[in-house]
């Protein structure tokens, strides 16, 4: 059977939630193998995979439009929206210049392996994803107003369609407020993103940490670290947790 995603993200979320509820009811009624439980498990699988047999039968294919086109994938309320901001004690011109330098960005984002400039306003990104997967995509700058604003989006063919913008607003004597918005269409839709969040790999906290390092490098010249310091005998649990975090 050819299984491909034919559900909207919100449909998947509702399907998973309804399925979990049905299973919970079945367990409470002490009928863990009854009809409700079976239907519940079915709904969870349907939601998680994004494949709906009913949609397949009636030929409904909400993703017939191109999912790698940022305008259709991220238009209106679609996709995941992230917002984060940080204040940096350097003038907007400095912060703008640092942001525009791919080397700075690659150094700040531990998951980004490299960023190559491939043409005017175009870059090629290579990122290490979870479980050793490599994600690659091309992006283009769609707006650049020095030293106020930069906006970008991924080009067709990207595994994850995304678009974002960063604004540099003057703050105080010689400071800058950096406001980042980021939109992306994660694999598996919002349900996929929700599950990823449950597993602890939150894109929002990653964005915040990236901005924190950006600020530290611009202000202090280096990002703080305690990794590699001496310590006494560590417990097995501590070593396992540190392993998982790095």
């Amino acid at each position: 059977m050819h299984v491909s995603r034919n559900m909207e993200g919100w449909e998947q979320t509702i399907s998973i939630l309804a399925g979990v509820a049905l299973v919970a009811v079945a367990i409470k009624r002490r009928k863990p193998f009854g009809g409700a439980a079976t239907a519940g498990v079915g709904l969870v699988l349907r939601g998680a995979s994004g494949y709906c047999p009913v949609n397949a039968a009636i030929g409904r294919r909400p993703h017939a439009r191109r999912r790698d086109d940022t305008r259709t994938a991220l238009g209106g309320p679609r996709g995941i929206h992230l917002r984060e901001s940080v204040t940096i004690a350097r003038p907007p011109a400095d912060v703008f210049a640092a942001w525009r330098d791919p080397a700075t960005l690659a150094r700040l984002m531990p998951h980004v392996e490299r960023i190559e400039t491939t043409g005017a306003g175009r870059t090629h990104w290579v990122m290490r994803g979870p479980a050793g997967i490599t994600l690659e995509w091309d992006a283009e700058t769609i707006a650049e107003v020095e030293p106020e604003r930069i906006a970008w989006r991924t080009l067709p063919g990207a595994a994850v369609a995304s678009a974002g913008s960063v604004q540099f607003r003057p703050f105080g004597e010689a400071g800058t407020e950096v406001h980042v918005t980021l939109q992306y269409d994660p694999p598996g839709g919002k349900a996929g993103a929700a599950l990823a969040w449950l597993w602890g790999d939150s894109p929002h906290s990653q964005l915040r940490e990236d901005l924190r390092r950006f600020k530290a490098v611009l202000e202090a010249g280096e990002a703080p670290t305690a990794t590699g310091q001496p310590a006494g005998h560590r417990s097995a649990a501590f070593r396992a947790a540190r392993e998982a975090l790095t």
Partner: protein, 390 residues
């Protein structure tokens, strides 16, 4: 090298661990010549500060000799004798630029932990849990010092280690506690806790012009120190009627400022509040016991200041905020902006205006640090301050 490592509540051990190395361009490595056990280390020793992990090296009061510097350090050279502030500050962020060094934006690599608990993260600290950065502490033979071009202060050879060691924490902490009181001529300052910070707060309050200082504790030896060295009037709170006595001693006005140099593990006399806190912290319903803070708020005169150098870590219950509001009190608190006080307080020591080494009661080799912790906690043998030499 040898280092004092935490392994659980009331379990600290000397272990052999790897030597520290330069990790960032602005780092330096210091060979520790003297380090002290702080009252706030006892909170770690008791296991009441979260996110400490077995194997963590403790210690945030230390000094020594620079042995290695990172590529970006030009202000220090191997051989320099320095005292290191316990707060780690980058010197370049918004808070550092306005002198709020202990609120540095860039020195806590685990800022996300502190943000979860407190909303925003303060600076990193040496040897004070992963919440404050997970930095290895200075109760060791060597220690890595980040942002070494900003923190460490060079000290003249004519002053002994013990005379300058307390610039690392407790002298600036006692001084800032007194400065936060906004002392005016004629003011009466009451100080809860005659541990080293309380004793130095007493001395600092006089240096800043207080007319009278009243020191409160229950340990006779510490009260004697406050009286004889600090020239304070003293009250043993176990004698009872503390608030009444403070009222009588101030002509019915109450102290103009109250300093809580006790913090989250206050003992308190047998009051309902003290039992309530003890039960709640046992049941993990509350983290902090706050007899001293409650008394300070209740005792403080109208329009006065409650200054809190004592460490608090979590949730407080039954804080008489109504009393603070009704009396128009100002409350000031926080980790000490140590960097701000290094030069002026070093100058006071050089001039002979104060010698903070009067708080030292015990000198031990680093190997005996576990004994030092136990003695300091149990206050045996009139223990007020333990200095360790690696």
């Amino acid at each position: 090298m040898k280092a004092l490592c935490w392994h659980g509540a009331r379990d600290v051990r000397i272990e052999t661990v790897p030597d520290p190395s330069i990790l960032n361009p602005r780092d330096a490595i210091v060979r520790v010549t003297a380090t002290a056990i702080c009252g706030s280390d006892l909170h770690l020793y008791d296991g009441v500060i979260p996110t400490l992990a077995a194997g963590d090296i403790l210690g945030h009061e230390f000094m020594g000799e620079v042995v290695e510097v990172g590529s970006a350090i030009t202000s220090l050279r191997p051989g320099d004798r320095v005292v290191v502030p316990f707060t780690i500050a980058c010197g370049a962020c918004g808070p550092c630029r306005v002198g709020r060094w202990s609120l540095c934006d860039n020195s806590n690599p685990h800022a996300w932990m502190a943000e979860k608990l407190y909303g925003y993260s303060a600076s990193g600290l040496f040897g004070y849990s992963h919440l404050y950065g997970g930095y290895a502490g200075g109760q060791a033979e060597y220690v890595r010092v980040p942002f070494a071009d900003v923190g460490p202060v060079k000290v003249p050879a004519v002053l002994s280690d013990e005379q300058v060691l307390f610039l690392s924490d407790i002298f600036p902490t006692g001084y800032m506690a007194a400065e936060n009181c906004a002392i005016q001529p004629g003011h009466v300052v009451a100080v809860w806790g005659c541990g080293p910070v309380g004793l130095l707060a007493v001395a600092s309050a006089y240096l800043l012009g207080a007319a009278r200082v009243i020191a409160i504790d229950r340990v006779p030896h510490r009260l004697a120190l406050a009286r004889e060295v600090g020239h304070a009037e003293t009250i043993n709170f176990e004698d009872g009627e503390l608030l009444e006595r403070l009222r009588d001693m101030t002509g019915g006005r109450g102290p103009d400022a109250c300093i809580d140099a006790v913090g989250l593990e206050a003992h308190g006399a047998a009051s309902i509040g003290a039992y309530y806190d003890a039960v709640k912290s046992r049941l993990r319903l509350a983290t902090d016991r706050l007899t001293a803070l409650r008394q300070a708020v209740m005792a403080c005169g109208k329009g006065g200041v409650v200054s809190i150098p004592g460490v608090y870590g979590g949730m407080l219950d039954k804080v008489p905020i109504g009393a603070a509001f009704a009396k128009g009190l100002t409350m000031r608190m926080g980790q000490t902006h140590v960097h701000r006080y290094l030069q002026p307080l070093l100058a006071l020591i050089e001039q002979g205006a104060i010698d903070p080494s009067f708080v030292v009661s015990h000198r031990l080799p680093l190997d005996r640090a576990p004994d030092g912790y136990r003695m300091f906690l149990e206050k045996v043998d009139d223990c007020t301050k333990v200095v360790l030499t690696p």
